[in-house]
């Protein structure tokens, strides 16, 4: 595998990426309106507040949708693999992967749980597994 596509954390997102090293999936909550959001931002998209706190996700969700990528976008990736939108129980949806499942087992609305994949820079990527496999 050639060089991985690595994130470049910024002023807002550095704590989020640091937490992945401890296998913690963080979400932002707004201190003023309690809105929960992901990806991390400098502003609450519900009330425009800027007092955002980190909370740890329970790591439970459902598959909103998925696609099996059969032709990799670059040599950094080895197809096939499953790209998915997972809607977390806390509300936000994130782009991720489903790992350890055959395409025939996948369907929208199936429950999934958090897992992790290492990146070469020490960070981890949050990925998901179908619940029955755990």
């Amino acid at each position: 595998m050639s060089e991985q596509v690595l994130p470049i954390p910024d002023d807002v997102t550095t704590p989020w990426w640091e937490a992945t090293k401890e296998s913690k999936l963080l979400l932002q909550t707004c201190r003023e309106c309690q809105h929960v959001q992901h990806y991390p931002r400098a502003v609450c998209t519900q009330c425009a507040g800027n007092q955002l706190e980190w909370v740890e996700s329970a790591g439970q969700g459902v598959v909103d949708s998925f696609t099996v990528v059969h032709r990799a976008p670059s040599p950094a990736f080895t197809a096939p693999y499953v790209i998915a939108r997972v809607r977390l129980s806390e509300g936000p949806t994130l782009l991720t992967r489903i790992v350890g499942a055959d395409e025939s087992e996948l369907a929208c609305d199936l429950p999934v749980a958090l897992s992790w994949e290492s990146l070469s820079d020490g960070h981890q990527l949050p990925v998901f597994q179908l619940k029955h496999q755990q």
Partner: protein
């Protein structure tokens, strides 16, 4: 305001594999559209374009030796050209410009400039939170929309494939279509094509070729003195919804809002439309847009596309040029939707001509179902 402008000239650049530069193709499209209108470069005081360089409109103005008093390079992907119709109408109504050229061209096939992963800008949230997972861009997002659509409505891959089959049928009537001489396409062939990002195969994806187009907009009053019958701009609407793959529901799309705004502005409804030109970056895009724009109800687009109503001779002729799937898709297809809609309304569409159309709809979709813009055009009465 919206009834006061018209499209008076339209043209394509060379299409296909041109080995020409972007600016050569831009020049072809613009000068041909001006000639179609009976106008010349010296008449142009407004330019709207994107996809040329960082300073797209400025670049084209410089290349043509024009110093416009109005320009727009709103970068919204393939729907930008429908958005420019709104902005051009407003600029002309306000008196800031009188003759505006809207153009696009790309040499993506000759230059081999298209990448499956898209363009990743490292400072964006997507670069941190989406690109590391390896989605194809834009393909994987449309694939997920298709998967969700199939799940919610019980649609099948064959239903998606019908969109490509229909596009090919129309393309066989258009000598400028890339697949003009390719013969009919079958559902089986679409299903058997190499899988890219499930459930979409290469045959569910638009062409990746060179091409471009231009349209000339001026006031309706002036348009009536020009070379061709004016095509009125009756209404427009747009909606911008997302840049990332995770932040908004996959269905329905922003085309609901853009369509509602356009129909309201024009005082028309979908049943008034005689020719439909929908952005078909992927087969799923057409199903989603037909429903969002109100040509059928949710979950009903597959049966509509499989019916004779959208085929030659039908009452909802759909993507009569052959579309991005079988005619031309130069990376941003929106301007070519306008070119075909105008040709149909003028009665210039040759073997694929729809019988006496009065109203046409052009609907652009940009990015990953990110931007949506609808334009309604009509013959001058």
């Amino acid at each position: 305001m919206s009834a006061s402008t018209a499209i008076v000239g339209v043209a394509e650049s060379d299409l296909g594999v041109t080995n020409a530069s972007i600016l050569t193709l831009q020049s072809q499209a613009i000068t041909r559209a001006l000639a179609d209108a009976g106008l010349s470069l010296s008449d142009v005081d407004g330019i709207a374009t994107s996809g040329v360089s960082r300073f797209s409109a400025t670049q084209v103005a410089d290349y043509l030796g024009v110093q416009p008093g109005w320009c727009d390079s709103t970068f919204a992907g393939g729907s930008a050209y429908e958005m420019y119709i709104a902005r051009a109408t407003q600029a002309i109504a306000s008196g800031q410009a009188s003759t505006i050229v809207i153009s696009f061209a790309s040499n993506q096939r000759s230059a081999r400039s298209r990448s499956l992963g898209g363009v990743v800008e490292t400072h964006t949230p997507e670069a941190q939170f989406e690109s590391p997972f390896g989605p194809l861009f834009p393909l994987s997002y449309y694939a997920m929309a298709a998967q969700r659509y199939m799940h919610e409505y019980g649609a099948t891959r064959s239903d998606l494939a019908q969109v490509a089959v229909l596009a090919r049928e129309w393309a066989l009537l258009n000598p400028k279509a890339y697949r003009y001489g390719a013969g009919p396409l079958t559902v089986e062939e679409v299903l058997a094509a190499p899988m890219m990002s499930s459930p979409l195969t290469t045959a569910d994806c638009c062409l990746v070729i060179d091409g471009g187009g231009a349209v000339v907009v001026t006031s309706l009053e002036r348009a009536r003195d020009l070379a061709k019958p004016p095509i009125q701009i009756l209404g427009y609407g747009e909606s911008t919804t997302n840049t990332s793959m995770s932040q908004v529901p996959l269905l329905p799309t922003g085309a609901v809002a853009s369509g509602k705004a356009a129909f309201a502005r024009a005082g028309l409804s979908p049943s008034d439309v005689d020719v439909v030109a929908l952005y078909d970056s992927f087969t799923i895009t057409v199903l989603l847009s037909l429903e969002a724009l109100g040509f059928c109800g949710p979950g009903e687009a597959a049966s509509l596309v499989a019916s004779d109503r959208v085929r030659p001779g039908g009452d909802i002729p759909l993507n009569t040029s052959g579309g991005g799937l079988s005619y031309c898709h130069p990376g941003q297809y929106g301007v070519l939707l306008l070119v075909e809609a105008v040709r149909q309304l003028r009665g210039e569409a040759g073997a694929r001509q729809v019988s006496d159309p009065e109203v046409a709809l052009a609907h652009g979709t940009g990015g990953i179902l990110s931007t949506h813009a609808t334009v309604l055009l009509g013959v001058d009465r």
